[in-house]
Amino acid sequence: MKKIIFMIIYLILSKHAISASEELKNKIYKNIRCIVCQGQSIYDSDTDFAIDLKKLISKKLENGENEKQIYDFLISRYGEWIVFNPILSFYSLALWLVPLIILAIGGFLIFRFNYKKKS
């Protein structure tokens, strides 16, 4: 009985593990641009290059490399253009944060100006 329960748990867990790794693979494939048909991701493309790249990514994941390492590798070979979603860098972070900071400072200055005026 114990063996059967153990096997069921093992099967459920391995199924989850496989679907998680498939999900990660597909997520990466969808974020990599096919260099032959540049509007498409390698996920949607059946060109030789896309197939080779998918095999290489799959191999790298099996070897224990993570998503970021794979993107870093491809960016080092083909430039940032190869990924659809740009990697978060200092400058892209600044692009998001600077408007918010300006808004906060502006709000503070308006508040202070009104406060001074009232008092």
């Binding site: 030789d48 290059f49 430039g79 253009w81 692009l95």
Partner: protein, 172 residues
């Protein structure tokens, strides 16, 4: 605070924000074929064309002062177009060319070299197309010029008279 300082701070902040936005938004939105130029040749392992038990790795390129890597295949029509230029580089200009035979049948590749001549001092085999990705290649034919393992020039597509002249210029 003095009005002069206020204007100065406002001006400086505007300039800093402008630079930040410029750097963040000024990214390459088209393909970058020269991404590997001015970089050392990455780690690669190829099977030797003549003996599968012998491996060719990146060190062979680092040892040479000036060497060309040419990715080719017998089924590739543009490779046939550039072949006479490769032969001339080897015979007339004595340039060392190492070939990477890409996803090819060995017998077809051997027949190709027998028929049109062999410009390569050594040939590595890339059956799975992995090494070409390691090199950041976009397709075949593709030619890399290396100086002591450093990629100094890369050409996508068949080489022609202009590219030959450029290679000879780089050798000087």
């Amino acid at each position: 605070m003095n009005k002069k300082y206020k204007i100065l701070i406002l001006g400086l902040t505007t300039i800093i924000i402008f630079i930040l936005f410029l750097r963040a938004l000024n990214t390459d939105k088209v393909y970058q074929p020269n991404q590997m130029v001015n970089k050392k040749i990455p780690e690669i392992i190829l099977e030797d064309f003549n003996n599968k038990n012998i491996k060719i790795d990146q060190h062979i390129f680092s040892q040479k002062d000036f060497v060309l890597i040419n990715i080719w295949a017998s089924w590739c029509v543009p490779c046939l177009i550039e072949h006479p230029f490769l032969m001339s580089l080897k015979n007339k200009s004595k340039i060392d060319i190492i070939g990477i035979n890409y996803k090819d049948e060995t017998t077809n590749a051997q027949n190709f070299l027998k028929k049109y001549g062999n410009p390569y001092s050594r040939i590595g085999v890339d059956k799975k197309g992995e090494v070409t990705i390691q090199l950041g290649a976009y397709g075949i034919p593709e030619t890399y010029v290396l100086k002591k393992g450093l990629i100094v020039f890369k050409h996508i597509g068949p080489i022609n008279e202009d590219i030959v002249n450029k290679i000879l210029e780089l050798k000087k």
